[in-house]
Subunit: 233 residues, 2 copies
DNA sequence: ACCTGAACACCGTTCAAGT
DNA sequence: ACCTGAACACCGTTCAAGT
């Protein structure tokens, strides 16, 4: 039927291909839109076939998270020789890039239980954490300072980017809600509750402005300044 | 059969009771452990009966989040006359209390799409945001400063508490994994990968220490100081 | 070696029917 | 008025069977 080499059937499925397709599905319709059956369908195959290449849905999601963060580890390896401030800047921007290009998938990175208790999302691999600690230690951080910096850095990234991803994810499609059909122009279901919230009503334009880029940059600056101050008091 | 008043059957089910039970289930086994059928079972009733009192699972989860945050709004109302720094301190501690007592449920607050785009978790009600803005404005914050403070405050809470809840949630039961039976003493599946991560291995004791309380307090201090500096430059 | 059909134990949800 | 049985369209996962 289809073209194939003489002896062996080229396998139509592979773990990498399956994980790619899974990320694709999540990007389009969120984690709720990812089912083994929908994924099989998307790949032109029955759902059961996936189990040859992936240990189950849990493993599949793990694969998606790894795919998202693998790029990040590469950045970290590449930038490991930079000054620690430049390094953290570039890592932060790389994580933000992931959050922005995959707003519906980013919560997976944040929310799924990491393999070890001292792995703090969004840095989810031992390798990544090791590089980060190594860079800090190489620039004069004590053990305690390096660990504290790691903690502050991860908290900062998570808080900032989860909220930014939520806003962008809502634009893309949110929790799989159909948009366009249905209510004609009902711009949110808490619209009249604003009568009891005069400040929110008055400041609505300001509250709706998107300053995520600048906020991220200045919050990152603040964090780096604080780390530097703690480093050489 | 069972005791009842003369005329009317006292309804065995109510929205509040259902939502209470749902939170109970989530607290015990995480969001994955909450199904309409399991919840019905837990309440001694068929799953279909729940639909009289709750619009569906989505609405049920909304109810759980509201239940978790209702206490928070009360705190905010009670503390609205305090100085803005005291107010933010007390609100922050109230949110942390929720994260600590409901570590498996807290991600719901963080991750579920809020009703309006300018509602930033973990502050999920218009009322709560309005109180916060009002307090800040009453103490000399400009509109822009108040909105910026609101954004910084929510990012801080989310990053800090989501990570703290994740750690505590893993102890409680995590993603519904059975603990105790199974592998005898296999303390985590990335144990030998530590060969390639010398810093992580060396610093493992330090990385495993839990300083979430102090970190929360000092990060909160830093945030408040920054807001104060911005307020009167 | 790889994919599939059939099957099992679950989901959320609806609706006519019972009391 | 409130709860239920039966049913529908979905899930994840297993396993013997097909090619």
């Amino acid at each position: 039927m289809s073209r194939q080499t003489d002896r062996a059937m080229t396998p139509r499925l592979s773990r990498a291909g399956i994980v790619d397709a899974a990320l694709d599905l999540v990007d389009r319709s969120g984690p709720a839109g990812l089912s083994m059956r929908a994924l099989g369908n998307h790949l032109g195959v029955e759902a059961m076939s996936l189990y040859r290449h992936v240990h189950g849905k849990e493993d599949l999601l793990e694969g998606v998270v790894d795919l998202l963060t693998s790029e990040l580890t590469e950045v970290m390896e590449r930038e490991a020789e930079e000054h620690w401030q430049t390094f953290l800047q570039n890592v932060a921007h790389a994580v933000r890039e992931i959050a922005i290009t995959h707003p519906l998938a980013f919560p997976l990175i944040a929310t799924r239980h990491p393999a070890a208790p001292w792995l703090r999302p969004p840095l989810r691999s031992i390798e990544a954490v090791d590089i980060l600690l190594r860079v800090l230690l190489a620039h004069g951080f004590s053990d305690e300072q390096a660990v504290r910096a790691y903690r502050g850095f991860s908290s900062f990234l998570l808080g900032q980017l989860l909220l930014e991803a939520a806003v962008r994810g809502a634009d893309v499609g949110g929790a799989g809600a159909a948009s366009g059909t249905g209510e004609p122009s009902f711009s949110g279901q808490g619209e009249d509750d604003l009568d009891d919230a005069p400040q929110v009503r008055r400041l609505r334009p300001l509250l709706s402005e998107d300053h995520s880029k600048e906020e991220f940059e200045t919050a990152l600056e603040v964090l780096l300044d604080r780390l530097e101050a703690e480093l050489s008091p």
